[in-house]
Amino acid sequence: MKKETKDKVVFAAFLAPALFAFVMVVIIPFFMGLYYSMTDWTAVVGRQVNWVGLRNYQNMFNNVAFQYSFFRTFLFSFLSVISINLIALMFAFLVTREIRLRNLYRAGFFIPNLIGGLVLGYIWQFIFKEVVPAIGGRLGISLIENLLLLSDPNLTMFGLVMAFTWQYAGYIMMIYVAALLNVPQELLEASEIDGANFWQKFRNITVPMIAQAFTITSFLTLVNSFKQYDIIVALTAGGPTAIFRGQVVDSTELLAVHIYNVAFKYNRMAEGQARAIVFFLMLSVVSIGQVYFNKKKEIEM
């Protein structure tokens, strides 16, 4: 009996610090948020909070800026997942070959990941605004010289994808490297003796062996593109403006930025919170669905 009590005390004492912090900053605010999203909450201290039911959610779905932001977020995530994984896989292939200085390249590809999204956004803003036109001028190519990537609503998205790929591909490369190093060399050599070409080796040995890594990388890239905030704030600040269904909208105001702006810029806290809840639901569905789909594929392979 005494030992059991003692065990319980140790259990509680060891668990308490992490659990207390987690409950205080994630669990309680999560349920507060759920409640606030159905009220006219304004975050003003002392002001009475009134229940409004699902009104904030109805306003959201009828809101053109939200609908637009929703599509743009999916577009950005789709482009980013493809771009980051392609580049990362290529990097991983190159740095696991027998080439000179491969450790230097591996470290070099990884370094942009150490730069925070905010700082990185300013760097790329400078590149797109000043450096790219200067290079175009030097080469005498007027198309590049006059390329104002950040003023064209159709092109800005690619600028964002590029900046994000620069930051994140090196990190994803590490995961692919770990997976590629696990592919048994004997298998590749044996298939080579049997006359398999590069593509056959890749398709039939490498891809199935790194399928598990692919589940992780596509999950990470998807979730992180969906939640992207820092780079956008520093690189485009949501702009430039575009026209969508007859209304002026911000072409790179993706959901994470949109939620923040609704709450703080337009001072509609409760509506911002309702959008955050929907954002959470979408993110859960998309990411869980993606993992489920890939796990099934993994087994088939």
Partner: protein, 286 residues
Amino acid sequence: MIKKKVLIKIVLQVITIAFFLFTMFPFFVVVINSAKSSLEIVTAPIDFPDQWSQLWFNIRTIWTSDSIRYASSVYSSVIITTLSLITISVFSAMAAWVLVRRKTGMSTFIFLLFISGLIIPFQVVMFPLVAFFRIIFETTGIRMLREYHGIIFAYIGFGAPLAVFMFHGFIKSIPVELEEAALLDGCSKPQIFFHVIMPILKPIFVTISILNAIWIWNDFLLPSLILGIGQDVQTIPLAIAGFAGSFVKQWDLIMTAVLMAAAPIIVGFIIAQKHIIKGMVSGSIK
């Protein structure tokens, strides 16, 4: 056949170097433009600077800038990052250990609660969190906003799910016999954890610390809400945001500020490169 192999090798080498140079290009842009005056930077953004001595002038300007407060911002970032790293790792390892070793329904429930934290994005809790911190201040008098302990506490809460998850997976593979032997030798439970388990967990500590260091050092949204931009306690990203926001077109100084913001973590990476790469590669396949 041999010739073809050599050719492929050369081609791969060239492709790799091309990608490497492309990846390094933005850093190159930052370095050369940190040493320019405000006029030179717009007229010749891709040339080497006229005088490298301009770099020291720009660094001095940033160093003495009232809005960046470089020394104090670096200090705040270092304090917040290191204290958060240590507390997240130690507290999460402690929690994960008792959750693995005490097999009850309660343990499973709490573990799942932590896991649920992995899919809750920051956006969904950020507004209520700030409100909740304000409520805490009003009811207990403990100030959480704009304080070191407030933001570190928040990082423990947001960092715990992933850390608990990773430690949990690893601790499951440690044989219980090890702990039973220590128990027979007269060790108490806390002694077992700190003297037997913690040393075994070292590789996971390294991996988690690297991931958290990159995250916390560069984080912007959470500190902007909890500390606020332009307040007494500000991290490097907040300082940069405040500065770049107030000098929209001062690219020369923004580039220098960016250089000075990125330098500490890049130097740190180069020094500890071997461990970091090893930690990343081994940690990513659990």
